[in-house]
C-alpha cells in the first residue's frame, strides 16, 4: 500500500514538472509530413526556429499522412496541440466552423502577408478572417513526353483544336494521348476541373463547387461535351478504372502514352522511370473557350493555430517564422514544391520554374484548390464517382448529372 502511494506521488510530481516545462515555452506541433523527405524538411524548419528562439522548445508529433485525416478530429477535440497541419479551402471549413482552429489575422498583418501571399489568401479566408499559414503549394498541368512530341512533330498545343489534333496524331502513331488511373477517383476530378475552368472560367467553377449552380446547367453540359469529345476520341488510357495513379505512370514511362494531367508530385516518380528533362515536359492546359482567363489548380498545404492551444503566443511566433520568405525558400526547396510567399525563391528545377512562372504570370483567372478541396466532401465524392462512370459510360451523362444535382440539393 505504501508503495502505491509513492508511485502516485511520483506520477503527480512528474505531471507537474511536465506541465511546468510546457508553460516555459513548449510548442506542440502535430504534422502529417511522414515521408522521409518532407519529414526532414520540416525538421530543418524546426531546428532553424529553435536556433532563433532558444527559449522555445518544439515538440513534433508525426502521423502517417492518411491516418492523420482521421486522427486530427480526435486530437483537436480531445488534446489539442498548439499547431496542426492541414489543407486550405473547404477542407479546413469543418474545423473552423466547429471552433477548433483559431484565426491569426494578427500574424498576417504583422508579417505583411496580405500582399506577400495574395495568391493563397482567398483559400485561407472564411468569414473574413485568416485561419492559417499556407506553407507550400504545387501546380497541376499537362506533363508530357517532350521527346515523343518532337519525334512526331507535334507542337505544344495552346488551344482546344490543337490539343485534339495533337491527340489524334499521337493515336495515329499508336500512342495513347492521355494516361490516367481513375481507380481512386480523384484523378478524374483534376480532368474535370481543368475542362470546366477552361470552358466556363474560374468564377463559374467556384460557384459550381460552392453549390450555387445546378449540375444540369447548360454550361456544365458544355464542359461535359468537351469531356465526351476526349472520351469518344479514345484519348484516355484503356482500363483506367482499374488503375491507381501510380500504375498509370508506367505507360508514360515506356512511351505507350504521352500526356498526364497531374500535379507536380508526379515528376519525381516519372524521373525514377527514366524520364529526364529532355524527355519530360510540362505545358499549361490549353485554352478551350477563347477569352476565358486561364485559371490553374494549385492545392495548398497549411499550418493552423488550434483553438485549444496551450501556448498560442509562441505558436504564433512559429507560424510567423514559417511564413517568412527565406524559410519558405529552403523549406520548399527540400519539398520540391512552390513557396506561397511571393518574396521567396524557387529552387532551380525545370518544372518548378515553369510552374512558378505559370502560376504567377499565366493564371490571371485565379487559383483553384482541387475538386475535392473546393467542393464539400459529400459533393466531391459523388462528383468524382460520376466523372469516373462518365469516362467509362459517356452515354449515361443525363443520369449522372441528374444524380449530382440531387446530391447538390441535399448537401448545400
Amino acid at each position: 500500500m505504501k508503495k502505491f502511494f509513492n508511485t502516485k506521488i511520483a506520477i503527480a510530481l512528474a505531471t507537474t514538472l511536465i506541465s511546468a516545462s510546457v508553460l516555459a515555452g513548449t510548442v506542440v506541433i502535430n504534422s502529417n509530413q511522414a515521408d522521409p523527405a518532407p519529414k526532414a524538411a520540416l525538421q530543418g524548419v524546426i531546428d532553424g526556429f529553435e536556433a532563433e528562439n532558444p527559449d522555445v522548445d518544439v515538440v513534433l508529433n508525426i502521423f502517417d499522412h492518411e491516418g492523420y485525416k482521421a486522427a486530427i478530429r480526435n486530437f483537436l477535440t480531445a488534446d489539442a496541440p498548439d499547431i496542426a497541419f492541414w489543407f486550405a479551402g473547404n477542407r479546413m471549413r469543418p474545423y473552423v466552423e466547429a471552433g477548433l482552429f483559431a484565426p491569426i489575422d494578427d500574424v498576417w498583418a504583422d508579417q505583411g502577408l496580405y500582399s506577400l501571399m495574395k495568391t493563397s489568401a482567398p483559400s485561407m479566408t472564411i468569414d473574413g478572417k485568416k485561419w492559417g499559414i499556407p506553407y507550400t503549394y504545387y501546380n497541376w498541368g499537362v506533363y508530357y513526353r517532350q521527346d515523343i512530341f518532337e519525334n512526331l512533330g507535334i507542337a505544344v498545343p495552346t488551344n482546344w483544336d490543337e490539343f485534339i489534333t495533337a491527340g489524334e496524331t499521337l493515336k495515329a502513331n499508336g500512342v495513347t494521348p492521355i494516361t490516367i488511373g481513375t481507380k481512386w477517383l480523384w484523378t478524374a476530378g483534376g480532368v474535370f476541373d481543368y475542362l470546366n475552368l477552361r470552358t466556363n472560367g474560374y468564377d463559374f467553377h467556384m460557384a459550381l463547387t460552392k453549390g450555387e449552380i445546378a449540375w444540369t446547367d447548360d454550361r456544365v453540359r458544355a464542359t461535359m461535351a468537351n469531356y465526351k469529345q476526349l472520351i469518344d476520341g479514345g484519348f484516355f488510357l484503356e482500363n483506367h478504372a482499374a488503375l491507381s495513379w501510380q500504375e498509370a505512370l508506367a505507360p508514360m514511362g515506356n512511351g505507350e502514352a504521352a500526356m498526364y494531367i497531374m500535379g507536380n508530385f508526379a515528376v519525381a516518380p516519372l524521373r525514377e522511370l527514366g524520364l529526364d528533362d529532355t524527355k519530360l515536359g510540362l505545358f499549361q492546359f490549353p485554352e478551350i473557350t477563347p477569352g476565358v482567363p486561364m485559371a490553374e489548380e494549385a492545392p495548398t498545404d497549411t499550418i493552423h493555430l488550434t483553438a485549444g492551444a496551450k501556448n498560442p503566443v509562441d505558436a504564433k511566433r512559429f507560424l510567423a517564422y514559417a511564413a517568412r520568405a527565406d524559410v519558405q525558400t529552403t523549406w520548399n526547396a527540400a519539398l520540391g514544391q512552390l513557396p506561397t510567399n511571393a518574396a521567396a525563391g524557387v529552387s532551380d528545377d525545370k518544372f518548378l520554374n515553369a510552374a512558378f512562372s505559370m502560376l504567377n504570370n499565366d493564371a490571371p483567372g485565379g487559383v483553384a484548390q482541387f475538386f475535392d478541396r473546393d467542393a464539400p466532401a459529400e459533393m466531391a465524392s459523388a462528383g468524382m464517382e460520376g466523372f469516373q462512370e462518365f469516362m467509362v459510360h459517356p452515354d449515361r451523362l443525363e443520369a449522372i448529372l441528374q444524380r449530382l444535382e440531387k446530391v447538390r440539393q441535399q448537401v448545400y
Binding site: A242, S381, V392
Partner: protein, 295 residues
C-alpha cells in the same frame, strides 16, 4: 450479511463470475447498439453540435441510389457466399481419408483462412489485374479478350465474392472435418449393408449426422457475408463508381472515410444492417433456446 452469503452462495456465485463479462458486454455491445439507433435520428459531423432531425436520415436513405446498390450487393453476397458450404463439405469429404501426409494437405487447404483478408484481397487484385494478372493471361491463352474484373460494374461484385469464397470455403471445410470425425462408423456400416452407397449414403446417412456442423457453417457464412467489408475496402473501395459497395462499406464511407463524417446518416445505415442481421440472429437464438430445452 455473512449468513445471507452462506445461504445463497450457490445462487450468487455464477452471477459474480458472470459480472465482469456482462459488464463488458453491456458497455461495448448493448449500449453502443442503442447509441447507434439514437444517433440515427440526428445530423452530426462528429465535431459540432448534434441536431435532432427525426426520421429525415431514413427518408433520405429510401431515396438514395447508393443505398439500393449496396442492398442489392448485400443480397448477392448473401446468396453466393452460401456456396462456401457445399464447397467446404466436398473438400472435407475429399480430405477425410487416411493417406500418408494427409495432415499436411489439410493444413494447406486451411491456409487461406489463416492468412489475413487483406492479403487475400491483394492476391486477388493482382490476379485480376487487366495487364499482367494471371486471370487475363489465361483468358488470352484461350483467345478471349482481357477483362478488367474490378473495373467493370457487372463483374466487380462477383470478382470480390470469389475472393471471399476462398477463405470461407476453407473455414467451412474445417467445420465439416471436425463434424466428420464424430460421424458414427457403425451407421455407415449399417447403411452399406442395406446397399446404400455414393450419393444416397451421403444424403441419407452422413449429412443428417453433420447437421450441427451445417448449422454452424451457415451461421458463420451468413454473418460473414453481411459484414463483408475488408475485401471491398482493399480491392475496390466500393468502386468503380460505387457499384461494389455493400451496406457495411457504405456505412464506413459515410461515417469515417475521407469524404464522410455524416455520423447520423451512417448510423441509419447501421440500423438497417442490424435489422437485416436480426432476422438471422433471431433464428439462431430460437434454435439455441430450443436445443437447450431439449426439444
Amino acid at each position: 450479511m455473512y449468513s445471507y452469503w452462506k445461504n445463497n452462495q450457490l445462487k450468487l456465485s455464477p452471477w459474480l463470475f458472470l459480472a465482469p463479462g456482462i459488464f463488458i458486454f453491456l458497455l461495448y455491445v448493448i449500449v453502443p447498439i442503442f447509441q447507434s439507433v439514437a444517433l440515427s435520428f440526428y445530423e452530426w459531423d462528429g465535431l459540432g453540435l448534434k441536431t435532432y432531425i427525426g426520421l429525415s436520415n431514413y427518408v433520405e436513405l429510401l431515396d438514395d441510389y447508393a443505398f439500393y446498390t449496396s442492398l442489392k450487393n448485400n443480397v448477392i453476397w448473401l446468396i453466393l457466399c452460401l456456396l462456401a458450404i457445399p464447397a467446404g463439405l466436398f473438400t472435407a469429404l475429399f480430405l477425410n481419408q487416411t493417406v500418408r501426409g494427409i495432415r499436411i494437405y489439410k493444413s494447406l487447404f486451411f491456409f487461406p483462412f489463416v492468412i489475413s483478408q487483406v492479403v487475400v484481397g491483394l492476391v486477388f487484385t493482382w490476379f485480376y489485374d487487366p495487364s499482367n494478372g494471371l486471370l487475363n493471361v489465361i483468358l488470352e491463352a484461350f483467345g478471349f479478350n482481357p477483362v478488367a474484373i474490378l473495373a467493370d460494374e457487372d463483374y466487380v461484385t462477383y470478382g470480390i465474392i470469389a475472393a471471399g469464397l476462398w477463405p470461407q470455403t476453407a473455414y467451412c471445410m474445417i467445420i465439416y472435418l471436425t463434424g466428420l470425425n464424430s460421424v458414427d462408423p457403425e451407421l455407415i456400416e449399417a447403411g452399406r449393408i442395406d446397399n446404400a452407397r455414393g450419393w444416397r449414403l451421403l444424403w441419407y446417412v452422413i449429412l443428417p449426422q453433420l447437421k450441427p456442423a451445417t448449422f454452424i457453417a451457415i451461421i458463420v457464412t451468413v454473418v460473414g457475408a453481411l459484414r463483408s467489408f475488408d475485401l471491398i475496402s482493399i480491392m475496390t473501395r466500393g468502386g468503380p463508381w460505387g457499384s461494389s459497395r455493400v451496406l457495411a462499406y457504405y456505412m464506413y464511407e459515410k461515417a469515417l472515410s475521407e469524404y464522410g463524417y455524416r455520423m447520423g446518416y451512417a448510423a441509419a445505415i447501421a440500423v438497417i444492417l442490424l435489422a437485416i442481421m436480426m432476422i438471422y440472429i433471431a433464428v439462431i437464438l430460437y434454435r439455441i433456446y430450443r436445443d437447450e430445452r431439449g426439444v
